[in-house]
C-alpha cells in the first residue's frame, strides 16, 4: 500500500512510469534515514571486524603490556594510535579486546528475547483469548522489574556471571518483542490475505511461519534485534562499570571508564573518555540503525 502511493507520487512528479524497486535509493527513502542506516551499518561492520580481530588476538599492540615510561600518552604518540592509559597500556588494543565482553553475551540475549518473544507474540496475537490474558500478565510482570534491579537480584542470588546476566537481559527483552509481534498480527488478522489463506485451507503452521512471520514480521524482528544489541552494550558497560562484569585486567569498556575515573578528576580525561566515546558511538550506531530501518521498512517518514 505504502509502496503504491510512493510510486504514484514519483509518477506525478517525474511524469514517467517506473517501478518502485527500480527507483534510486534517495527517492525511495528520506535522506536522514539513509544516513542513519549507513552510519549504523558502518558501526556494525567495525564491531564485527574488531570482534574477529580480538578473537584471533590480531591487535596492534599487546593490550596487557604495562609501560611505566608512557603513562597516559595522548593519542598518536609512540605507535599508540589512541594513546595509553594510566598504566601505559595501549588503549586502542584494549578497546578492540573489550568488544569480547559484550558481543557473544549480547547475541545470546537477543536470541532469547526473539525466540521466546516470537512464540508468546504469536500465541497472544493469533490465538487470543485465554492465552492472551496469561501472556499479558507475564509481560506486565516482567515489565514491573527495573532491569538493573532484577540483575542485581540475580547477582546476589547466583554470581556475577555475564551469561546469567545476559539470560536475564534476554528474558526482560521478551515483552517488547512479544507486544510488537502480537500488535502486528492483530493488524494483519484484519487483512484479506490471511482470511484468503485460511479459506484456501493452508495449514496454520504455514500461515504463521510464512505469511505472518517471514513476509510481514522480519523487518520488525531485525529492528528489535538491533535495538536489543544497543541495550545489551549499555547494560554490559553499566555492569562492568559497577564492578559486576568483566574484571580488571581483562578490558571491557565499562571497567575502562571506571578505572580511568580517578585520573579524570585530576584532568587526565583521555583514559576514561576514549572508552566512553566508544560506547557512545557504538550504541548510537545500533539505535540509529534500528530507527532508520524502522522508518524505511515500516513506512514512517522521519522528520
Amino acid at each position: 500500500m505504502r509502496r503504491s502511493t510512493r510510486v504514484k507520487k514519483y509518477i506525478q512528479t517525474s511524469g514517467e512510469v517506473s517501478d518502485f524497486s527500480k527507483l534510486p535509493l534517495h527517492k525511495k527513502f528520506s535522506i536522514p534515514d539513509l544516513l542513519y542506516v549507513g552510519y549504523g551499518l558502518l558501526i556494525v561492520f567495525l564491531v564485527l571486524v574488531s570482534y574477529v580481530l580480538g578473537a584471533f588476538n590480531l591487535l596492534p599492540n599487546d593490550p596487557q603490556q604495562i609501560n611505566m615510561d608512557m603513562l597516559m600518552a595522548p593519542p598518536g604518540t609512540g605507535g599508540h594510535l589512541l594513546g595509553t592509559d594510566f598504566m601505559g597500556r595501549d588503549i586502542q588494543s584494549r578497546l578492540i579486546l573489550g568488544i569480547q565482553a559484550y558481543f557473544l553475551p549480547g547475541l545470546l540475549a537477543i536470541f532469547i528475547s526473539l525466540s521466546i518473544g516470537i512464540v508468546l507474540g504469536v500465541l497472544a496475537g493469533y490465538r487470543g483469548g485465554y492465552a492472551e490474558t496469561v501472556i499479558t500478565y507475564f509481560t506486565n510482570l516482567v515489565d514491573s522489574f527495573p532491569r538493573l534491579v532484577l540483575i542485581l537480584l540475580v547477582i546476589a542470588a547466583f554470581k556475577p556471571d555475564i551469561y546469567y546476566i545476559m539470560m536475564v537481559m534476554g528474558i526482560t527483552g521478551v515483552p517488547a518483542v512479544a507486544n510488537a509481534i502480537a500488535g502486528k498480527i492483530r493488524v494483519l488478522a484484519q487483512k484479506n490475505f490471511i482470511e484468503a489463506a485460511i479459506a484456501l485451507g493452508l495449514r496454520t503452521r504455514v500461515i504463521i511461519l510464512k505469511h505472518i512471520l517471514w513476509y510481514n514480521c522480519r523487518a520488525l524482528l531485525i529492528i528489535q534485534a538491533t535495538l536489543g544489541m544497543g541495550e545489551a552494550i549499555l547494560l554490559e558497560t553499566s555492569l562492568s562499570y559497577l564492578g559486576f562484569g568483566v574484571q580488571e585486567p581483562t578490558p571491557s569498556w565499562g571497567n575502562m571508564v571506571q578505572s580511568g575515573a580517578n585520573y579524570f578528576m585530576q584532568g587526565n580525561f583521555w583514559p576514561s573518555t576514549a572508552p566512553a566515546l566508544a560506547i557512545l558511538f557504538t550504541i548510537l550506531g545500533f539505535n540509529l540503525l534500528g530507527d532508520g530501518l524502522n522508518n524505511m521498512l515500516e513506512g514512517k517518514r522521519s522528520r
Binding site: S144, R147, T237, L242, A261, S272, A276
Partner: protein, 320 residues
Amino acid sequence: MKSIPLRILAITLLKELGLASLLLLGVSFVVFVILYAAPGDPFSVLLEGQLPSEQALAGIRAAMGAQQSWYGQYFSWLHNVLGGNFGTSLHSGLPVAGELVKVSLNTLYLTLGSMLVTLCIAVPIALYSSMRGHAVAISWPLTMLGYVFSALPVFWLGYIAIYVSVHGFDFFPLSSSGASDGNGWLYTLVPVLVLGLGSGTISEVIRYLREEMSRVMAEDYIRTERAKGASVWRHAFKEGLLLPVSEIIAAKIPFILGGAVIVEQIFNWPGMGRMAWQAAQDRDFPVIMGIALVAAIFVRVGSLIQRIVYTAVNPQGARD
C-alpha cells in the same frame, strides 16, 4: 469542560488496583523463587570465618525463625512483608523496612526530578518540530542531539558534571543529601540533572511525543477548531500532550530507576540503587528482596496514575 464521571473513575481505580496487587504478588513470587534457587545458604554469611557446620546453620535458621518447606518460607515471608516487616539486613542487622523508606524517598526525589528535567527538554523540542513539521533545518540537529544524549554513558556524564562543578563552580556535589549548610539542596541538583540528561529516555520521549502530536494535529476536530478560530492548542493539549506524556513516563520508570542505580553510585547518593548495589555485593537477601519489591511498587504506581489520567481524559475509552 465537562466534569469527569466519578463512577467510571472509581471503577477504573478499583480494577487497576486489583491488577496491580495481582502483579505485585507475582513479583514477590519471582523474587522469592530466584533467591530460593540460589546456591549456598544466605545464613552462612553470618558464620563468616567459620566452617558452616550443619548444626550451626540449623541453629541460626531456628533462631531467625526460618521455615523448612519452600511454600512455608514463601508464605511466612509474604505475611511479614504485608505487615510491613521486611526482615533484618544480614549485613548490618538493622530492620530493612525503616532503611527502605529512607532510601526510597531519596530515590523518589532523584527520579521525579530527573523526569522533570527530561520533560523540560523533550517537550519543547517535540512540540516545536511537530507544530512546524517541515522546519527540518532546526528539528533535525535537535533530534540528533537527543540521540547522542540517549547513547551517552551516564557514568561518564556524571564525571564531567563532577569535574565541571568542582573546577568551574567550586563546589563538590558528592556530599549530596547529607550536606548540612543552607544550600545543600543545590548540590542535589547535579545528580538530578545528570540522570535527567543521561538516562537515555530523552530521544524516545521526543520521538513518541512528536508522533502523537503530529497525529492529533492532523485530526479532523483540530481542523474544525482551526476553521472556527478557536484555540488549537487548548483542544490538542489533552490528547496530543497529556496522554502521551503520561504514557511514556509510566513506560520509562523502570528504565529511569535502572539509571538511578548508576547515578547514585557516582554521586554517593543514599538511595535504593546504591543500597541494591551494596546488597548485591554482600548477598544481603532481605535487603535486595525489599528493594526489588519497592521498585516494582514504583513501576505499578506509575502505570496506575497513567491509567487514571487516561480514564479522566477519555472516560469512554475506559469502558471497553
